[in-house]
């Protein structure tokens, strides 16, 4: 294609960046609000850049609210879910892609079906189940509940990643005398690793952001994750402290910001493999 003329190029840039800035403005505003002094918050007209930057809201969040407990709960919850789901799904996806046995195709269809299933359908029986086995109000109950959406998702994603690994590589290892499990460790696993990392990141984000199961299954501050915990701070407070809530929102997004900054390539490759390509 011909390189566009300069005025045209300039126009495109201005248009594209105006859209991008408009899209992320709410998030910029979140950060700005979280560092504004309380007095400046309710000034009319509002100041776009704070006169003074303060971290008092962050300190209050950490010192005076159960935020750190919620944060720790979310971390335990998301990491446990991710480890459990990735181990089970890696083996399962390998089996679905490279082995043949009766019922395999039906199973693959079932995985896709459950991937689309709404949580509200499962939540009532799951709630009854957790109450009857005495897991209600624990982080463990949430790990179990999160597998209902994370496992089908991870299986589907890993299945498409593994289907992309050439079969010849594995055959060659088998001809050289490797066992099936040996071939998996030496050939499939290293090849699938980027896909596994990508799937793990998505699973972590899904678990970190989940709200509905946490709302229904956990009702104590000891086990409450960030999503319901921070929302509770909004609902139970007598007068809403927006700067505190915005500070909580920023802190809650920290893992995502880390993933975005350092591991973004994995996220985009997961997009291609999951769902859209089928």
């Amino acid at each position: 294609m011909k390189p566009a003329s300069f005025p045209r190029q300039l126009l495109l840039n201005v248009a594209a960046w105006a859209v991008v800035l408009a899209v992320i403005f709410p998030l910029v505003w979140m950060v700005v609000t979280s560092v504004k002094p309380q007095a400046e918050l309710f000034r009319i007209p509002p100041s776009f850049l704070p006169d003074a930057i303060t971290f008092e809201h962050y300190w209050r969040l950490l010192a005076e609210t159960p935020f750190l407990t919620y944060f720790r709960n979310s971390l335990v919850l998301a990491v446990s879910t991710t480890v459990l789901v990735i181990v089970v799904a890696t083996l399962g996806a390998y089996s679905l892609v490279r082995f043949s046995y009766p019922g395999r195709e039906t199973l693959a269809q079932l995985v896709l079906f459950t991937y689309l299933l709404p949580s509200v359908v499962l939540i009532i029986p799951l709630y009854l189940m957790m109450v009857s086995v005495g897991l209600a109000n624990t982080i463990a109950s949430l790990v179990v509940a999160y597998t209902t959406f994370a496992l089908p998702y991870a299986l589907w994603l890993l299945r498409s990643f593994m289907a992309g690994i050439p079969e010849d590589l594995e055959s060659a290892a088998l001809v050289d005398g490797a066992s099936r499990i040996g071939a998996f460790w030496d050939v499939i696993f290293p090849q699938a690793l980027p896909g596994i990392i990508s799937t793990a990141l998505f699973t972590f984000i899904l678990a970190w952001n989940e709200y509905l199961y946490a709302l229904v299954l956990v009702n104590s501050d000891q086990a409450r994750p960030l999503t319901t915990g921070v929302m509770n701070m909004l609902i139970t407070s007598f007068n809403i402290e927006w700067s505190l809530l915005m500070a909580a929102s920023v802190m809650m997004s920290l893992p995502l910001i880390v993933i975005f900054t350092f591991l973004q390539g994995y996220l985009t490759s997961g997009f291609g493999a999951g769902g859209v390509k089928g």
Partner: protein
């Protein structure tokens, strides 16, 4: 005898290689099957079974009512109101997501400055928690100190601060708008990936034929995007249809149930009105409606897989 049996190879090793592989494959999938049965298949069947009972959530005591729950919900206004709201929300937000998503993808497909930074930034709303998105938007929508009302009043577009979430039709428009903001990046990424694989020769040929930018979009870009757009529309229809967090946290279904969608009704029946059996019936009805889109998606992927293999 025992010595002979020891020399005889174990029965498993006498199986053919392919049978042994089949066994190994079954072993590897076994944890998945177990978990699926326990947390998905059993609850799914259980939900259908529960919908035939009348159960009080707090005591969990129930009695068999057969199909009464379904008869009640089909005759009452709640189901139809929620179905209507769900359709308005889904169609509204999906349309905006697609239009805005394709437009932004086309814009970002150009050679702009800091292109990869622009792409990452646009992706952000999709990955942040719905709780964060809702908190931020409720602050932006705030009637007294919200920046949105301030800007609108100062620019003279409105005389009075707008009540974004507390009255109709604003509440429905607001959730549709926030839904679009949160989910359009999915469309952007999927469409961008496809745009990059369109052969430039197609555009050259169209240019030679004298097609202007508009005509090139309709005659080259859109037909090339058709496949990916169908998949995106099916997936997003399913996901938007079952959306709970965003609507529940922004409006809670209000004002006066005007934004109450089917997932919210299920939650309200089960944990607000303590009617667990009724809630199960609503959830089964909701799934029946969704089955249409789900089957379409399943059918399409199966066809794509057999064609692509």
């Amino acid at each position: 005898m025992t010595a002979l049996a020891a020399i005889d190879p174990a029965p498993a090793t006498r199986l053919t290689l392919s049978a042994r592989y089949g066994l190994l494959g079954a072993l590897l999938i076994a944890p998945t099957v177990l978990i699926f049965s326990a947390v998905i298949v059993y609850p799914l069947i259980s939900a259908i079974y529960l919908s035939l009972f009348s159960i009080f959530t707090l005591t969990l005591e129930g009695s068999w009512v057969g199909l009464d729950n379904y008869a009640t919900l089909l005759q009452g206004p709640t189901f139809w109101n929620a179905l209507g709201n769900t359709l308005i929300w889904t169609i509204g937000t999906l349309t905006l997501q697609i239009v805005f998503g394709v437009a932004v993808a086309l814009l970002l497909n150009n050679n702009i400055w800091f292109r990869s930074l622009a792409r990452s930034l646009v992706l952000f709303p999709y990955f942040i928690s719905t709780v964060v998105a809702v908190l931020v938007w409720r602050w932006l929508f705030n009637d007294l100190y919200g920046i949105l009302n301030h800007l609108l009043v100062r620019s003279g577009l409105v005389d009075m601060p707008v009540n974004w979430l507390g009255e109709m039709p604003n509440a429905m428009a607001s959730i549709i708008f926030v839904g679009t903001w949160k989910y359009f990046p999915f469309v952007v990424i999927a469409v961008l990936a496809r745009l990059q694989t369109i052969p430039p020769q197609l555009y050259e040929a169209a240019r030679v034929d004298g097609a202007n930018a508009w005509a090139r979009f309709w005659d080259v870009t859109l037909p090339q995007l058709k496949g990916v757009l169908i998949v995106i529309i099916l997936l997003r229809t399913i996901w938007d249809f079952k959306e709970f967090d965003l609507i529940y946290l922004l409006t809670g279904g209000g004002p006066l149930n005007h934004t109450q969608t089917l997932p919210l009704v299920v939650y309200q029946q089960a944990f607000g009105l303590n009617q667990m059996g009724m809630a199960a019936a609503y959830s089964v009805m909701m799934m029946l409606v969704m089955l249409v889109f789900m089957s379409a998606y399943l059918y399409r992927t199966r066809r794509a897989r057999s064609a692509g293999a």
